[in-house]
Amino acid sequence: MPWALLVPALAGLAFLVLPLAGLLVRAPWPALPQRLAEPRVIEALRLSLVTATVATVICLLLGVPLAWLLARTDLPGRRLLRALVTVPLVLPPVVGGVALLLVLGRRGLAGRWLYDAFGVSLPFTTTGVVLAEAFVAMPFLVIAVEGALRAADQRYEEAAATLGASRWTVFRRVTLPMIAPGVMAGAVLCWARALGEFGATITFAGNFPGRTQTMPLAVYLALETDPDAAIVLSLVLLAVSVIVLAALRDRWVGSA
């Protein structure tokens, strides 16, 4: 094994693993059960899990059809469309939050109409958190599903068509089951990204405990006042991520 590769590889591994180890070493283990039971921890965790899950469901409902559109149709300007879809992936989340505010804020382009017509105001609400998370996380799902669609053998869809299946039936009964592992992997990535979302959330939804203060926001806030609390919250986030990854890995994600 060449040293030129081995040394940087090990350094890279250490760089990724050591901070997490530090988190474990510095954790206030004796006080942990008691701190975990604190209402603000439970509240933030519940809010994070709920919003990330709802955001993922929204991403699935909108993102899978969008991926299908990108992978399976000859839409003009499809390449531009794909580029646009991936923009939130590289965009700093704070910018995403500002953009959401400009469009969906109470004085925003669409938000003004929403408020005037229905009295609905999205910023600084739990719904706003969900929107911010979905905005940032959806590209992960779309890209994963589009890849799965491109890799899937389209001849199965042709076979289904010769058996009398309409395009919708083909999608529902053949395409979707065949790309299920890809969709699942995409959903997991999407969920994890939504769970960790910070920048867009704090910009668009603010930082109100119990309403918009998700775990990452709570960690950031706690770091200023109560570093031990920040560590506890971080540990919880770490644990949730690891559990989800481990639970899904063998079943859906691992084979790749």
Binding site: E158, A159, A160, T162, L163, G164, M178
Partner: protein
């Protein structure tokens, strides 16, 4: 349930232009080399490849403007393409379900078809656990489940190993005989075509070059490709009585004929001599050995000369003659085994 089709598919550097008429109950084999357009023709019929022109008439109704799901044409694909996430039973029930049959009824239909192809015990098995032969039978059952007006099979035996192939071939013939609609199968294997089909349609370079009963095609090939498939030497020449002139060679044949003609004879009708044989047999000329290969129990000798020629001799004769490439020999062809027919 008969098919009348004129298929035109144009692509850069390729044009398929073929007419196909298949009456009820007939099995037609599209036979041709790779890239001849056989599969394109099949996909055109099924609606999976758009036609550039022509028409498809099934039972007197035009269907070429319909999408594949409305044509009711059953297709058995080369790799079968059984849905991997569905059991054998649900694969077969898929078509009836799409036609609006209820779940229970569709499963009953599927179970009946699986029984017919001898796979009743495999209803709950996923395709990944079926052997090649079993998968092929499930694919056939799935295609028949939509009660198709036309059945298409793309290289139905190509994915099977030699042993299974023999077994499945005769079984497939039985199942095809039980189907009352028109059947078209695509193959590049002349044996499959001869065993399975009532009629052969030979396609080369996107055009039909010969059509007829298997025995007729085997006896009277009209292109080099078909002649090679059925193992005959084939020449085109000018007939005058019992002679056909091919280039510098005058071949005697069993038939009387006048005008442009084909002459065909098997390699086994050729005898080779080191020196000019006694007497004066007809159809005799000097040739140079171009190559030698084993061919079944015999030795096939490829000869250059006034006309290219393949000759089969027994291994002992080959040893006696001491045949080596580049050597000159006399080749004689038996007139009684030489067939001439109008070109």
């Amino acid at each position: 349930m008969s098919l009348r089709a004129h298929l035109v598919v144009e692509r850069p550097a390729f044009r398929l232009d073929a007419e196909l008429d298949v009456p009820d109950g007939e099995v037609v084999a599209l036979l041709g080399p790779n890239g001849a357009g056989k599969t394109t023709a099949l996909r055109g019929l099924a609606g999976l490849t758009p036609l550039s022109g022509g028409r498809i008439v099934l039972d007197g109704a035009e269907v070429h403007h319909l999408p594949p799901e409305h044509r009711r044409i059953g297709v058995v694909f080369q790799d079968y393409l059984l849905f991997p996430h569905l059991t054998a039973l649900d694969n077969v029930a898929f078509g009836p379900r799409c036609q609006g049959v209820g779940r229970a009824a569709a499963r009953r239909i599927a179970a009946g078809l699986l029984e017919r192809v001898g796979l009743a015990d495999f209803a709950g098995v996923r395709p990944g656990r079926l052997s090649g032969g079993q998968a092929q039978r499930v694919a056939l059952a799935r295609a028949l489940a939509v009660r198709p007006r036309l059945l298409l099979l793309d290289e139905p035996l190509a994915a099977l190993d030699a042993h299974t192939r023999l077994e499945i071939r005769s079984e497939l013939r039985r199942h095809l005989a039980g189907f009352d609609g028109a059947t078209i199968l695509v193959t590049h294997d002349p044996l499959d075509a001869m065993v399975l089909a009532d009629r052969l349609v030979v396609v080369e370079n996107g055009a039909v070059v010969q059509t007829g009963a298997p025995a007729e095609i085997a006896r009277r090939p009209r292109t080099d490709y078909v002649a090679r498939l059925v193992g005959l030497n084939l020449y085109r020449g000018e007939a005058d009585g019992t002679h056909v002139t091919v280039g510098d060679v005058r071949l005697s044949s069993a038939e009387r004929l006048k005008g442009p003609a084909f002459v065909a004879f098997p390699p086994s009708a050729v005898a080779l001599y080191r020196t000019r044989p006694d007497g004066s047999p007809r159809n005799l000329w000097k040739a140079v050995i171009d190559g030698i290969e084993r061919h079944g129990d015999n030795v096939r000798v490829h000869l250059d000369g006034p006309i290219p020629l393949a000759a089969d001799v027994t291994p002992s004769a080959a040893a006696d003659l001491d045949l080596v490439p580049g050597q000159e020999v006399w080749a004689a062809v038996k007139a009684t085994e030489t067939h001439a027919y109008p070109a």
